[in-house]
Symmetry: C2
Subunit: 317 residues, 2 copies
């Protein structure tokens, strides 16, 4: 019987693996819980980058080159904003902006983020339940040597240049998991930490009260977002180094020690497998770079196999 | 010496004549006061159709075919809204939506509509002061045989089909003219009623307290929006008929009797000139259909000549 999986995901890497899981799991066996710490208001619009990347990817309308944003996108909105001297440091495509406008309107009318995501998922024909980690605002603040920066200011406006000292998820302690999140985690055979940034994609999810507790008794598998000492996408490796850690798969495993039962690393990092294994974490070495749909599905299968082994070990006396 | 002109304008016809005036008058001699009765909230965005048509036209970025909207426009935003089952009855181009997003943000941040229009005018290199009639909301309600309809519902969603019984400008009695409006009218040598819809473009402006009084002592010239029994654009002719009036240039002159000193009609309506003249309104017959920039400037010159004659008559004992 197919496993019930709840995946915790950030943006591009998370979206790709979730897409692979959706391809190999029966509908109804997969739920995605998405980081909303990156969400922010820009040009008066509410923007949820990770949620949108997951929705676009599962809806089959993501930009295949960038992994985020819409396919066949045009940029006349942005050019027009710029011509009118509006803020143009955050790129919004013409198709993409429609989602932000509809969301901003819905939230202002009193709809929750969860409800809006559900409505859009339905419109886009997405059958996998996509859940924001919370409907409450929990903005990630990046503590840098230049002071505290809102996440998108650090990430986009400042291109991750300021040296990182730490992270804060504002309001997390009072936030409630979005409807369905705890329920789906509690019922999951496997909780998957997607290959997303540990610091700013997965930690915000884990900071929501109740989520750590809900996964404590679950079988948890993580996939390293760091391959060959580099992040496939984004600043994860740079963050590890700036925090005085090695930017290696094993550092990610170390970060999640006590939470993950299994860990998937890339063949390039095979040499680290033994040390991760010594931490009491069942380690699988495979190809983790998802160049295409087949690679997404293949990694999903590998993850499920590792989870199957772990679950079998649990039930074997 | 060139006249100081303040033009009262609605959308396309008004914008074209104002553009003609801008071409023949020295900078500083022209001010435009624009109808905001058509303004409405749509998809959570504040949309001001007449103001935008005037801004795009004076900025040289209007769609030359439609007369409204942006040139070289694309429609990916709208397609994306539709795909997500958002409201798609009001067309918003990708470039156009940038203006609505920026305006919505500015208004929410406490900027007035006037201030926003000034900022955008500056960005677009528009040297003619463009003033909304008021910064207060004064939505036009169309009283029809099917009941009261918000203007854009009547105009766009219902394609002007419901039979008109009357019009209401909600909140007009408490609205204040936008900063600069009364001042510009009081200082004008000529107040021009552009060839805009009398019922839903010019009457809303005249409904703002203080505006009628300010123009009472001014030389006022109107240009008929009805040519050969038809409106060049929009439902003006249909409205006249449904209100039991003839859809003719003379009916427009009759509508503004007591306000206008001079009136400009098209050659097609030459037969009505004598009767308009008998109403005590100095009438000029010329080509009023503005097919191109030259026609805009030419009509502007005709209007200024008529105004010159009227002003001379006033000062001649």
């Amino acid at each position: 019987m197919a496993l019930r999986v709840t995946a915790l995901a950030g943006g591009v890497g998370g979206a790709k693996l979730v897409d692979g899981l959706a391809a190999v799991l029966p509908p109804g066996n997969l739920t995605v819980v998405v980081n909303t710490g990156d969400d922010f208001d820009h040009l008066g619009l509410r923007i949820c980058p990770d949620l949108d990347t997951v929705l676009y990817t599962l809806g089959g309308i993501a930009n295949p080159t960038t992994g985020w944003g819409r396919d066949h996108e045009s940029w006349n909105f942005m050019a027009s904003v710029k011509a009118m001297q509006g803020a143009d440091w955050f790129q919004l495509g013409d198709k993409d902006v429609a989602l932000h406008v509809l969301r901003t309107q819905a939230l202002r009318q009193g709809m929750t983020l969860s409800q809006f995501v559900q409505r859009v998922s339905h419109s886009l024909g997405i059958r996998v339940p996509v859940l924001p980690m919370t409907d409450d605002p929990v903005p990630t603040v990046v503590e840098t040597e230049e002071g505290d920066l809102p996440f998108q200011t650090y990430f986009v406006a400042r291109r991750c240049e300021p040296k990182v000292k730490g992270f804060r998820f504002e309001g997390a302690s009072h936030a409630r998991p979005a409807p369905g999140v705890l329920d789906s985690l509690t019922r999951a055979d496997l909780v998957l930490f997607c290959p997303s940034n540990p610091w700013v994609s997965l930690d915000p999810i884990l900071a929501i009260p109740g989520i750590r507790q809900a996964i404590a008794s679950r079988t948890v598998v993580g996939v390293s977002p760091i391959v060959g000492g580099r992040a496939i996408k984004g600043p994860a490796a740079k963050m590890f180094r700036e925090l005085g850690l090695k930017a290696e798969a094993i550092a990610v495993a170390e970060h999640f020690k006590g939470l993950v039962d299994g860990f998937v690393i890339d063949r390039q990092d095979q040499a680290q497998a033994e040390d991760i294994q010594k931490m009491g974490i069942q380690t699988l070495v495979t190809g983790t770079v998802m160049h295409d749909g087949a690679a997404r599905a293949s990694l999903a299968e590998d993850v499920l196999n590792l989870a199957g082994t772990l679950l079998e070990m649990e039930t074997t006396p």
